[in-house]
Each structure stands twice: as C-alpha cells, then as structure tokens.
C-alpha cells in the first residue's frame, strides 16, 4: 500500500507512544497499588506512582489465603459467567441463524425491535427484574443471575452473530444441501465452523457481562458472604470503613488478568468477529 516518509513514521510512533501510556498507565497504577504495603490505593511518593519502589505480596496473600473468601467469589463468578456464555451462544446462534438464513414476515421488524428495546435505561429496569426473579423463587440463586445475564446479552449476541452469518456465502450451504443435508444440518456442518471468529467474540462479551455485572447481583445475592459474586464481594471490600485499598487493588488485578488473557488470546478474532450491522465485504 502506501509507504510512509520518515516524518510521518516519527509522528506515528509519537502518537503510538502517547496512546500506549494513556492505555496502560491506569492499569499499571492499579498493579503498583496492589503491591504497596499499608492498605492505601494512593501514594504521595511521586516516584512510587510510576515504578514499584516498594513491593510486597502481602495483599495477594491475604486475598487468596487469609480472611477474604476471594477464591469462593471467583468460583461463583466463573460458574455464572461460564454458564451464561454457553447458554447465550446456543440461544443467540439459533436466533441469529433464523434471522440471517430465513426470510419471514416480521424479520426486519424483529431485528429493529431487539435493538430499540435496548434504549430502556438499565438502572431503572433493575427493580422489576429483581422483583420478578424473587417472585419465581430465584432469590439467592445463581441460576437467577444466569437467566438474567443471558437475556441482557442476547441482543448484542444475536446482532453480532447475525451480522457475521450474513457474510458467509450461502452458496456453500446450498452446495451441502444438494449433497443431501437439510438446511439445519448444512448450517451446523458448514456455516457454523466458518463463524468461529464471531462465536469467539460473542462468547467473550457474554462472559464479560457475567463477570463484571454488579447492580443486579448485589440485589439477588446480597448474602451470605461466600455466595457473592466477584463484583459484589469487591464492592464490599471497597465499602468497609477503613478501605483496605491494597487488598482491593490486588483483587482487581486478579480479576482483570483472566479477562486480559482471554482478550489477548482472542485478539486475532476481534477485528473480524465484530460485525455489527453485517457490512463486511
């Protein structure tokens, strides 16, 4: 394509370096705080804001081994987010398949409806959602959260998958049908394997929703301590009288790291798998 002149090259790197600092520094700051003794998030030691002048594993030790049921929270959240991901992918794939491959009355209206319904402010929907889950007896039950999170992410998942399915040439599946597959079978055997990037990205977002949601979880599973999800547990730490920021930061770093690793692993799928609107050539 274009070859850049040295001046442009330098400008590009200057922008990239600034952007790198902008992107990484807040996370780096949290990592530094997690290794600081004394339970403070903040430091007035200027150097300590940029490099680890003091480093201790004490915060991590306390979070993992002493006092806090951090590992239990992590297990609860892993369960909820994991099941949400699986359920969401199955449900959204079937809907996205129908929206992409079938022509039926109300198809377009249905898609618009899905998106427009998102315009309702989430914070304000909390009260009825919590009441509903309580009424059907899913109060203090992780499955209640799984059901709720699945429907939270359904719109995004359906749209994203539908967009990607649209980019897979239907001829491939038709060839399969000539060879004797039914429409569904040919889709499962031919279309779905081609949609791997979109499935990966969709799954990632479903997982992140379950992993990071706080408001509903705090209403549905407020107690006991060991049944809480990660976010609710972390908030609890952040709301103690003398906030042990060091513990909090150590916990936050351990919450980010798994997501970050999954993100990095799925990085190659991100650009191709994110197809809102199905406009790829």
């Amino acid at each position: 394509m274009r070859r850049s002149t040295p001046g442009v090259k330098i400008l590009q790197y200057v922008i990239l370096v600034i952007a790198t600092i902008f992107a990484l520094y807040p996370v780096w700051f949290a990592i530094l705080a997690s290794g600081r003794a004394g339970g403070r998030l903040y430091t007035f030691n200027l150097l300590g804001m940029f490099i680890p002048v003091e480093w201790t594993w004490e915060n991590y030790r306390v979070m993992l081994l002493g006092g806090q049921p951090f590992l239990q929270w992590m297990r609860n959240s892993l369960f909820i987010a994991g099941v949400t991901t699986v359920v969401c992918i199955v449900v959204a794939t079937s809907a996205a398949f129908a929206f992409s491959r079938f022509r039926f009355k109300g198809r377009e209206a249905g898609l618009i409806f899905l998106l427009a319904i998102q315009a309702f402010p989430g914070v304000l929907a909390l009260v009825p959602q919590a009441q509903l889950l309580t009424a059907i007896g899913l109060y203090k039950n992780p499955w209640g959260l799984v059901i709720a999170y699945t429907s939270f992410t359904l719109v995004f998942c359906t749209w994203n998958l539908k967009g990607y399915f649209d980019t897979i040439p239907i001829d491939l599946e038709e060839a399969g049908m000539i060879d004797g597959c039914g429409p569904i079978q040919s889709f499962l055997l031919i279309g779905l394997p081609l949609a791997r990037p979109a499935l990966a990205v969709t799954g990632l977002f479903a997982f992140m929703t379950g992993w990071g949601e706080y408001a509903l979880a705090s209403v549905i599973i407020p107690a006991p301590d060991s049944a809480k999800t990660l976010m609710v547990g972390m908030y609890k730490i952040a709301n103690e009288i003398n906030i042990p920021w060091g513990y909090f930061a150590a916990g936050a770093v351990m919450v980010i790291i798994p997501v970050l690793l999954v993100f990095l692993y799925l990085q190659r799928y991100l650009e191709s798998g994110l197809t809102l609107g199905g406009v790829k050539g």
Partner: protein, 405 residues
C-alpha cells in the same frame, strides 16, 4: 433458503427464535411495562407495598400473581395506588415546560439548530449530482458556523437558562446530551487515528501495539476500580497535580471545578470506549480493497483526499451502528461517573451537581429518596426519547438490511 415452506418452515423459525423472544419479553419488555404502570402511581417512600386487591396492581406486580402469592411482601407501609390525575408524575417532571416562556426558549433553541439540518439536506442534494461544487466537509462547517451565529443572535445561553429553570429534568437532560455530543466525536477521532496508524503495513510492532490498545477494554470489566484510579489522577494531591508541581505549576482542584470535572468524566469514558471504535474501524479498514487507493494515487490524490473521499465513506456503514450503540450507552452512563464524582461538584442546594448525568440523577432519586413512581415517569420519558432516536438512526444507517437484499 430453498427447499421448504409452509407450516413446517413457520414452526422451525418459531422454534429458533422462541428462546430469545421469551428472554427479551421477560427481562426487557416486562420491566418497561411495569415501569410504565408504576409511573402512574404514587409508589415511593410512604407507599412502598403493592395492594393485590387492585386489578391493575395484581396484573403488573409479580408477587400478586396467583402462583407467587405466597411470597408477596407484607410490609406495614401504605399500599401504592394510581394517582389522580394519573399523569401527576409526568406533570411534576416536565410540567413547567408548557409555560409560554419555556416554549419560546425551546423554539429559539430549535431554530438555532436549523443550519445543521440545512447542511444535511444540501449535502444530500449534492450527493445526487454528478459533481459537487464544495465538499461535504465545507458544507458541514458552514452549518456549524450558522449555528454559532444564530446562537449569538438569539442569545442562546439566556434561552438555556430559562429552560434550566423548568426543572431538574432539563438540566440533566441537556447536560447529558452535551456529554454524548462531546464523547462520541472523541471516541471516533481517537479510534480512527489509532486504527489508521495500526493499519499501515510497514509499521514495526503492529501486533504488540494492537494488543496494548485494547487493554482498557478488558479493564472495563472492573470499571469501579479503574474509575477510582482515574479519580486519583485528578485529585488535588493526585498524579497530575504532583507532576504539574514538578514543572512549577500549581494545578487546579480538578474535581471541584464544574467544567474540569466534566472534562475528567469525558476523558475516563474515552479511555474505556476508544478500543471498541478502534477495533470496529480496523476491521472495516481491512475490507477496503487496496486497488481503490492505488487508483486514487494514479489520479493524483493526496492523503487528505484519500481519507475523505475513500476511507471515511467506506467506513460509514461499519461506524454508524457502533456510534448508535455507543450513543445509547453513553447517554445511560452511570458507573464510571458515579465512581469518579458521584455527580459532584455541587451546584447549590437542591440542584443537580455539575456532573449529574441522567442515570446518576435517576439513581440518586430512586435509591436515596425512593421516588419509584417519579422515576418510573422519568424512565418512560427517557425511553421514548431514546427509542425514537434509535429508530431514526436505524433508518438512516439501514443496518437491518441483510446481506442478500
């Protein structure tokens, strides 16, 4: 798809869509209906409990449904009832808008925005011609200058002041619209700049930079933690001010100044959201065939021509849906703002704080004053507004068209 039709097809489609439909109906549509009902009642601190003997309540309140009756809350407070007049909550929120003074102010504001609409129509007109006398950029610039001129002639700040007096509702709504209008272009500009750089094939360390740039996205899972970090950067003794002190400048108290605090929540939101835009744009950039640029270069186009005449138009279909979605989420921004400023700095007693966006305001009202009924009305107004905006933008972007139409 070929091969089948009739009852069997309809049944299959239903089977495929049913789980999604049920989930959406229960967790999205039902809360909307419920909120609409509550918005007509006086539910609040003094009337918290349902009265299942009332027909409407027994329909909307899940704990009143026969199968769940056993779990109905039995508190001591008064049961809530439908208000008389039933639109009481709405009148309290937006009633003052319907005075002569406010209507005139609103009219002036709308008139001041006319040049933008004119610019859009003019651009559409030029698009239909074979050649355009001026580029679309110039037309938009003219529109913006027109708005500024009209704003000056019509004394717009004064009109806004009149509107603000019509209630908290307008204060927070206008402020939130301003927030969205500032955030979205920033998302786009930062995302586009980085995507363009990272898309150049002869860049060393391209993969590494791509990975680094999406870190904020992954970190947004623990938005509360990262927002507290952002808050610390801008505290009076925070990182920024300590750095400023090194070069001999006394930094301002960022979070106590209404304008600066607003800028801080914009910046934090840009940090969270630019990776999304960057990724969407990168994906779209890769689907632009390089021949287009080669052909343009043969015709003597410089990089600005290539950007405005090839890249941007071809990015449009991918960026618009992302913009629509981000506009909705930014409009409903809550967690980040709550963690950084909690709506502060205060603008006086009984008035929303300088960074109190609509959701922050609603959250405070619901969970601090328990004004469920009032906030139900608030939610319904917000919903109607965003719903119309979404439908309009869908029509403009045409993203519901399938790949084979």
């Amino acid at each position: 798809m070929v091969g089948w039709s009739g009852r069997r097809k309809a049944l299959t489609i239903l089977l495929f869509i049913a789980p999604t439909l049920i989930g959406i109906l229960i967790f999205s549509v039902y809360p909307i209906l419920y909120n609409t009902f509550i918005s007509f009642t006086n539910r609040g601190m003094y009337h918290p409990n349902p009265d299942c003997t009332q027909t409407l309540t027994s329909i909307f309140e899940p704990s009143c449904w026969p199968m769940f009756r056993a779990r109905a809350p039995k508190g001591i407070g008064q049961p809530y009832t439908v208000q008389t007049p039933f639109y009481g909550n709405y009148a309290a929120l937006v009633g003052k808008l319907f005075t002569k003074e406010s209507m005139v102010a609103l009219l002036f504001v709308l008139i001041a925005l006319l040049p933008l609409w004119g610019a859009r129509r003019l651009n559409q007109h030029y698009d239909r011609q074979l050649t355009r006398p001026v580029s679309s950029f110039v037309v938009w610039l003219g529109g913006i200058i027109g708005v500024i001129l009209l704003a000056w002639v019509l004394k717009l700040p004064q009109q806004f002041a009149v509107l603000m007096k019509a209630g908290d509702f307008f204060v927070v709504t206008i402020r939130t619209i301003l927030y969205v209008a500032i955030c979205i272009p920033l998302f786009f500009i930062v995302g586009l700049t980085l995507a363009l750089i990272l898309n150049s094939s002869d860049l060393r360390g391209r993969t590494a930079f791509r990975v680094i740039m999406v870190v904020p996205w992954a970190a947004s899972t623990v938005a509360i933690m990262m927002s507290l970090v952002w808050q610390f950067f801008f505290r009076e003794q925070g990182t920024i001010n300590q750095l400023l002190k090194l070069i001999g400048v006394q930094g301002p108290a960022w979070l106590n100044n209404s304008t600066l605090a607003f800028a801080v929540i914009v910046l934090a939101n840009v940090w969270y959201t630019y990776p999304f835009f960057m990724t969407v744009i990168l994906g779209a950039l890769q689907s632009i065939p390089p021949e287009q640029y080669e052909a343009a270069e043969v015709d003597g186009a410089n990089w600005w021509d290539k950007l405005t005449k090839i890249t941007l138009p071809l990015l449009r279909p991918a960026v618009l849906p992302a913009t629509v979605l981000s506009s909705i989420t930014t409009f409903q921004m809550f967690g980040t703002v709550w963690a950084i400023t909690q709506g502060r700095p205060s603008m006086g007693a009984g008035v929303p704080g300088a960074t109190e966006l609509v959701m922050v305001y609603a959250y405070k009202q619901i969970f601090q004053t328990n004004a469920y009924g009032r906030m139900g009305a608030y939610a319904v107004i917000m919903f109607v507004f965003l719903f119309i905006a979404t439908l309009y933008s869908l029509r403009v972007t045409r993203i519901t068209k399938g790949a084979y139409e």
